[in-house]
Symmetry: C2
Subunit: 225 residues, 2 copies
Amino acid sequence: MPSGLRFMLEHIEPAGGSVPFRLTDTQAPFRQERWVAPQMTLVPPVQWRDAAVRIGRGCLIVSHELPDGRRQILDVLGQGRILFCSMLAHGTAKARSLTFTNVERLDEHSDRDAIEEARQLAMKRAYEHALLLGRKKSTEKVATALLDLADQFACGNGGQMRPSFTLYLMRNELADWLGLTLETVSRCLSDFKRKGVIAFERTDRITIREKTALRAIADGLAPST
Amino acid sequence: MPSGLRFMLEHIEPAGGSVPFRLTDTQAPFRQERWVAPQMTLVPPVQWRDAAVRIGRGCLIVSHELPDGRRQILDVLGQGRILFCSMLAHGTAKARSLTFTNVERLDEHSDRDAIEEARQLAMKRAYEHALLLGRKKSTEKVATALLDLADQFACGNGGQMRPSFTLYLMRNELADWLGLTLETVSRCLSDFKRKGVIAFERTDRITIREKTALRAIADGLAPST
DNA sequence: CGAGTGCTTGATACCCCTCAATACGAGTGG
DNA sequence: CCACTCGTATTGAGGGGTATCAAGCACTCG
C-alpha cells in the first residue's frame, strides 16, 4: 500500500556558482523523504509530529532564541545525523537548512535501534556543548567546532589526518553556535591559519593541517603562548 | 519472585541541625529503590545500565569535566525528575547527590509514557541551558536558576507567588551550573537581595519576593539601570 | 578559643564584546 | 571589461563584564 507521495529534488552539487535542480515526484512504498532548499525553516508535516528523521545529505542547524533576538545554535547536523521532530514543537527549538538538504523519515519500529542510539548521541552532544559554552575559552571553542565539523562533513567522515570540508555555517552562525561574536570567531580562525593549524582560501572551505594540535587546543591542553 | 533487597533510609527532615536517619531493608516485589547519602557519586548497579530512575526525594546534580578540572554542571534534579542511567556510562557525565536522595527504578513498560516525557524534558532543558550558557548575562543566569530551583524545590512546587526553597547547591556549584565563578554568583545574589527581589538569611534558604521581576530579569527584559 | 569551611566584598586584570573602518567576492549594469 | 553595490569577512581601537586575586566575615565544630 502506498504511504504517500515523495517529493524529491535531483540535486547537482554546485561548482561554485548557482545551483541547478529539478523537481520530480515518485512513489515511496514505506519510507518518506523530502528535499529542502537552503535557508528554509523546517516545519514537519503534522503526521511527522513525533517522527525521527535522518539527514541523507546536506546540513541543518537547530537553534533557539531569547525574546530580544539573541540566538543560540544548539546543534549542527550533517549526513547521517538524526533529528527529532518533537523538539521542533511548542517553540522548543527550530531547525533550518544551510544547503540543499535531504531528510528521510525513519520507521519507529524497524529503525528502533538507530533511533535509540541517536537519542543518546543527541543528549551526549548537548552535554559536551554545555561544557563548551560554560567553561571553554574562545580558542578552545573554535577548535572544538572545527574538529566536530571535520568529523561530520569531511569526505570519508573525517577519519583522515588532514580532513578538508565545506563550512556551511557563516561566521555569525559559528558565533551563535559557540556563544561568541562573529569577530571573535574570525580572529580565532585567522590565528589558527597564521599558525598553520588550519588552512583556507575561500571562507567556506577549511582544511585541518595539524589535527593533533587542534585537538590539544580544543581540550585546553595547549600552552597558551 | 523477589527481585532483590531494597535498602532504605528513613529520613527525617532536619530543622537546621544534623540529620537523624535509620537503616532498614525490605523486599520490593517489582520496583527497586535506593537511598543515597549526601555527596555520593551515583554508580548505578550493572543491571540498571539502561534504566530510567525517578527521584522520590532529594537533589542530584549531573556534571561533566574537562581534563584540567574545569567543571560544568549540566542539570539539577529534584523530586519527580527522572535520570537516565545510560548518560552515566563511558564518562559522558556523572551524577552526585547533594542531600539524602531517594531513587526508584522505573519499569520501561509500565512507566513508558513517563519515561518518554522525561526524555523530551531532558532535551528541552538541555536546550534552555545552552541558551543560558551561551547568550545570557550573569544576572539573567542567576535569575533563571533561582526560578528553576523554586519550581523544583519550593513546597507546592513553586506555583505560589513568593516561593521559598532550600538551596542544596553551594555558591561554587551554582557557578559551575551557570558558567560563572562563585564570586559573581554571590554578587548577583547580594544584588537581588539588596533590591528586594529575593530574601535570604541563611545562605541555603531562599525566598523569591518579586517573581515577575525575577522572570523579567531572567528573560533579559528588565531595564539594566 | 582556634581551626576550618563557605560566603561576601573589594581591587585589579584580562578576555571578549562593541563599534568602526576596510577588504574581499559575487552579482549587476553600463 | 570596469565601476558600482551589496553582503560577508577581516582587522583594529577601546571599553565593559567577569575572572582573578586577596581580605575579611559568619558559622560550625573540636
